[in-house]
């Protein structure tokens, strides 16, 4: 389906990004929650790392989008509005991430995870038509296999790669002279 410029109205505006930044700044969290860039959405924020995406999609973005699009002064928005459809679609992804980050797993949670991912994939072209032009990515396919891993190996915390990322970070901090081998005690 060819896209006509001007027909597709952007869902996320500068004001939306400003509101998300306000949520990141003003949300009160315990000290064990790591920080995320308060200038999210700007170049100065740098590359968002995997752990920061996890916190954004399980804490800050859902709070921001639901309070922004899900109600108006305590009154629910019309469910037929395009914004409500986009919100439901986005929340399907956030709920899938929330379930996959749980410390307890069973077939009910795993099935709900797969249902949310399917809902998100099914609604992607409807809610965000510009993605039709994008090349297909393997991440979407891989996300369905996480369902199998949840059943086979249990909660993601027991098999995700964050411990190895931390090990890589620790190894990168070690000063070396780029020479393989050698003996440290040879130095005076």
């Amino acid at each position: 389906m060819p896209l006509t410029p001007g027909v597709v109205r952007p869902t996320v505006t500068v004001d939306t990004i400003r509101y998300i930044q306000r949520v990141i700044k003003e949300t009160i969290t315990p000290s064990w929650i790591n920080s995320v860039p308060t200038d999210y959405g700007e170049n100065s924020a740098g590359t968002i790392k995997a752990d920061e995406w996890r916190l954004l999609s399980t804490i800050y973005l859902p709070i921001a989008l639901v309070t922004l699009w899900g109600e108006q002064n305590g009154i629910p928005v019309e469910q037929t509005s395009p914004v409500a459809d986009v919100l439901d679609h986005t929340m399907a992804l956030f709920q899938a991430v929330t379930i996959s980050c749980r410390y307890r797993m069973n077939t009910i949670h795993a099935t709900r995870y797969r249902e949310f991912i399917k809902k998100w994939v099914d609604g992607l072209y409807r809610c965000h038509p510009h993605t039709i032009k994008h090349p297909l990515r393997q991440n979407v396919h891989a996300s369905f296999h996480i369902y199998d891993f949840l059943l086979l190996f249990g909660p993601t915390t027991s098999w995700w790669c964050f411990p190895f990322e931390r090990l890589i970070g620790a190894l990168q901090k070690i000063n070396t002279n780029d020479l393989i081998g050698g003996k440290s005690w040879s130095l005076p």
Binding site: I28, P30, I63, V66, G70, E71, I108
Partner: protein
């Protein structure tokens, strides 16, 4: 590495009987001048002197009173004689010896004429509350009654989003009810011998 080895040698030498008297005297003076850096020793001293604390570490999780660290004071907990978890903020921490008590002020609930937009998303553990605290008496609870920390965002002058940060327990009990139902189903099928061989079971 060298300084660590030297330190270990010095400590070993101080414990040997042939260590000279003057060095032993220096060690006594050193211990008096610089107090122990062991945190458990300091905790014991503080416990003996003060019953009120700014922080309390329970199973590796730090809880604080609201005046010290608001984020560490916001908790989801079971009030005394109740099986329903509610949200509150720790106002005071009493600790004496091994025992500790939190004095918690409750978060006021959302007024009935306001809509909670998070009720549509049952797998996302957030709820809208009033941004004000309850005027009722504070609850005195043990640390074991705490479910988890929470995150709070005040999105209007009178309403706040409360997000349960527990990765185990959700606000809504729908999933737990479903899990219980599936367990009962499995037990019934096992009892009546209808469980098929090789059928996949849940991870509990």
């Amino acid at each position: 590495m060298n300084s660590h080895t030297r330190g270990a040698n010095l400590r070993q030498w101080l414990r040997r009987p042939e260590c000279s008297e003057i060095v032993q005297q220096f060690k006594c003076l050193f211990d008096k001048a610089f107090s122990s850096k062991n945190p458990s020793d300091r905790n014991i001293e503080q416990n003996a002197r003060h019953s009120e604390r700014a922080h309390y570490n329970h199973n590796g999780v730090v809880f604080s009173r609201a005046s010290t660290h608001l984020g560490n004071s916001l908790i989801l907990y079971y009030p005394p004689l109740s099986t329903t978890a509610i949200v509150g903020s720790i106002q005071k921490i009493e600790a004496s010896g091994e025992e500790a008590f939190f004095w918690v002020k409750r978060q006021a609930p959302l007024s009935s004429n306001k809509y909670d937009p998070f009720c549509r998303y049952t797998s996302f553990p957030a709820k809208v509350y009033s941004s004000l605290m309850d005027n009722g008496p504070e609850d005195r609870i043990r640390p074991q009654a705490v479910v988890s920390h929470i995150a709070r965002f005040e999105f209007s002058s009178e309403r706040a989003v409360i997000l349960n940060l527990s990765r185990v327990c959700f606000f809504n009990v729908l999933l737990d009810v479903l899990i219980m139902k599936s367990r009962i189903d499995i037990v019934i099928r096992r009892v009546f011998g209808k469980l098929e061989a090789g059928q996949r079971t849940d991870f509990f």
